[in-house]
């Protein structure tokens, strides 16, 4: 069970973190446009 929780926590952190970072970068670039 521990491995299952860690695996999905990692996936959520990486995919979610990447999505948030991408949206922030996009908003910043569009603001500077």
């Amino acid at each position: 069970m521990t491995y299952l929780v860690i695996a999905y926590a990692f996936a959520v952190a990486l995919l979610g973190g990447y999505l948030i970072w991408s949206l922030r970068t996009l908003r910043e670039l569009e603001r500077k446009e």
């Binding site: 491995y3 299952l4 860690i6 695996a7 999905y8 995919l15 999505l19 970068t25 670039l29």
Partner: protein
């Protein structure tokens, strides 16, 4: 929408799919582990097609799609590798073994991480774009090696179970739903990254107009 779909997929994985009789709850890693691997294949196919189109007509849009596909593909390959390691530990007793599937997947990650490194370190321009396109095209050779490694060689990693009808109906439905949601997420991430690359290229063109990835137009001022 992609986030909402992934939440629905999580609901299917943890609430709908039955618990595996042999492996127990840890088998639920399977759904996102395999879906991420397929999404990564798709992302690297975008790099392949983008690279071929770029080498044919130096389309900056194709190069941007290739760059976006490589980054998102590396993210999904990372998810595949780490989830696989966390699944392997309770089942095999080790996080990692140098079998053909695991090794070829690690090589795939290294190839496209190298692709991104070339894009980051090389001076932006046609030369870097052409080299990256070639790396992206030849790197794709590893995708069928990863996929068929479990049938070509004896591996600790299990062979194909989805195409061999080895999954009960509820597990198959959960897997196919998770796969669909993951592919939508991958397409969304590529679209966002494509937009970012477009804006970066536009800034680059204003700052250093001589370093465009596209061929100069005939008759244009040098």
């Amino acid at each position: 929408m992609a986030v909402a779909l992934m939440l629905l997929a999580a609901g299917a994985i943890f609430l709908y799919a039955p618990t595996d009789a042999l492996q127990g709850p840890v088998q639920r890693i399977f759904y996102l582990h395999v879906s991420s691997a397929v999404a990564a294949y798709g992302c690297f196919a975008v790099v392949l097609v983008g690279g071929i189109i770029y080498l044919r007509n130096e389309s900056p849009a194709a190069d941007r799609f290739a760059r976006a596909g490589a980054l998102v593909g590396v993210v999904f390959t990372s998810v595949t590798l780490v989830m696989g390691m966390l699944w392997a530990k309770p089942i095999w007793g080790v996080y990692w073994t140098w079998d053909a599937r695991l090794t070829s997947t690690l090589v795939l990650w290294i190839i496209y991480a190298g692709y991104l490194l070339v894009r980051r370190l090389a001076e932006p321009g046609r030369q870097a774009a052409r080299i990256a396109a070639i790396v992206g095209i030849f790197g794709f050779v590893d995708v069928p090696v990863v996929h068929f490694s479990v049938t070509w060689w004896r591996t600790q990693h299990p062979g194909p179970i989805v195409v061999n009808d080895a999954l009960p109906a509820e597990m198959l439905a959960t897997f196919l739903f998770t796969l669909g949601c993951t592919l939508v997420l991958a397409a969304t991430l590529i679209a966002i990254r494509y937009r970012i690359e477009t804006l970066i290229d536009a800034r680059q063109a204003i700052a250093e107009p001589t370093k465009l990835v596209a061929a100069p137009q005939p008759g244009a001022a040098p």
